[in-house]
Subunit: 276 residues, 2 copies
């Protein structure tokens, strides 16, 4: 296989298999070439990925050494995406009765969902995460998007147990905003004890649902390493009951009477700025 | 930008933007090169995509001409994936009380879900599809996977209306297997009238849920162009009420007493064979 062909094959492979450790002999066989040629190919791909702000190839040497694609978006790419998202959400026609915000069109667009996943995965890429957990329904596409970049499975908590998932563990919790008692269940065989978990959801107000998930996960002795929410609502009346989380945007000042809304960047961006 | 770098950038672009029509001047600017160089790059990428059985670049000439990546898996790749899936599902430890089958581990694996999406998208790639519709919960990741390859949005029908989705249309229908009356709702602003729809779900027995979706979609004057289900259950007692659909696998002979199960290839494979 010629270099030009190999570059296409290898680029495809890395994009389809993020964070997967591959030993060089695998690529030598795949491309029917020498180890030194593959090594040069990897240098080229690494350089392009870096210059495009789409991550890097992590090489390791010695016995069992190899290469792994880490899909870590550049801060510039992340900021740009969040800014575009912020502008799209600031459209007043999104305001629904009760001060809610219509986001189903954005959450229904696979490309947008994939980008959201990529942004979260960039943030969490250095953490030790075994599994993404979300609760049905709207968090599901986001959870899969994050999971596809971190190369870990997804587990879905539900409001009601399903016969097709076998025996399950359930908890009752108080929803933060409605103050209603709700149930959340997780199938027993879906999660190993002591797993390192990242919680993903689309929306957080007081944080009742996220707290419910944390409590449910403690039944599995899981360690919550990270929490990511697409949008948080600025709620001055309620004290937030979840401390450490990452949000992409913050919804504030939904004014039903004047039909205006304000969307700010979430703490993802603050953290980036602090880091610089 | 050198050819080797351009090949990495362009391969990434096509994989992230399937079925998106791009005019060549866009790539000329992106890569700061000439039209003839880009044209040669596209020839190389097309040839590699073809030889790997991962689709092709569709070129069009004249005013507004350009290029589009069609992610159409080869029949060999499709057959191989379905065969692997069939074997994984034939594990007797998957049998649950009531003769159901535990599939949440496979549906929780983003790579498997993505492959399922790619296989369906290969089948439906010649059809005129504007939107993927599924019903919460388990069909959701599959719907997004298909949608990401067809580059169309996803709309999710639910069992209960949500305030965050605005006004909605609802229908009642009789579930095929349980004979219970169920409700299904779709937000009004989620779907344009007369849309061409592909229905995706994880499981079909008698077909009550799919029929419910078809009825709900008829309220939007939608045209159901294709129906894809991951697994269908062979049910001799019930007559299937859905006619045209594509399944990847067929579950038959779940024997609770002897703890055995038989999984066959679905009609996706039969259709492939007939086609040859």
């Amino acid at each position: 296989m010629k270099r030009s062909n190999r570059l296409v094959v290898l680029t495809d492979f890395f994009l389809e298999n993020p964070r997967k450790h591959i030993q060089l002999p695998y690529f030598v066989r795949l491309c029917d070439t020498t180890k030194s040629s593959i090594s040069e190919d990897l240098d080229i791909i690494h350089a392009v990925f870096q210059s495009q702000g789409m991550g890097y190839l992590q090489r390791s040497t010695g016995a069992g050494g190899g290469v792994k694609y880490i899909p870590e978006y550049s801060q510039e790419n992340n900021m740009q995406f969040i800014e575009e998202l912020r502008k799209k959400l600031e459209d007043p026609s999104r305001i629904l009765p009760g001060g809610y915000l219509y986001m189903s069109d954005l959450l229904g667009d696979p490309q947008t969902v994939r980008e959201i996943g990529r942004v979260f995965a960039s943030k969490f890429s250095k953490m030790d995460i075994d599994v993404i957990v979300t609760v049905a329904t709207k968090g599901i596409p986001l959870a899969y998007a994050v999971a596809s970049f971190l190369n870990v499975p997804v587990v879905i908590a539900r409001r009601d147990p399903k016969v097709t998932e076998g025996s399950s563990v359930s908890i009752n919790y108080v929803s933060g905003s409605s103050r209603k008692i709700q149930t959340m269940v997780l199938p027993k065989r879906s999660l190993e004890e002591g797993a390192n978990v990242c919680i993903i959801d689309d929306f957080m107000k007081a944080g009742g649902t996220i707290t419910g998930m944390i409590n449910l996960l403690s039944e599995f002795d899981a360690h919550v390493q990270a929490i990511g929410v697409l949008a948080e609502a600025d709620d001055e009346e309620e004290e937030r009951i979840v401390d450490h989380y990452t949000s992409l945007v913050k919804i504030s000042n939904v004014d039903m009477r004047h039909h205006t809304i304000e969307i700010q960047a979430g703490n993802f961006v603050e953290d980036l700025t602090n880091f610089e």
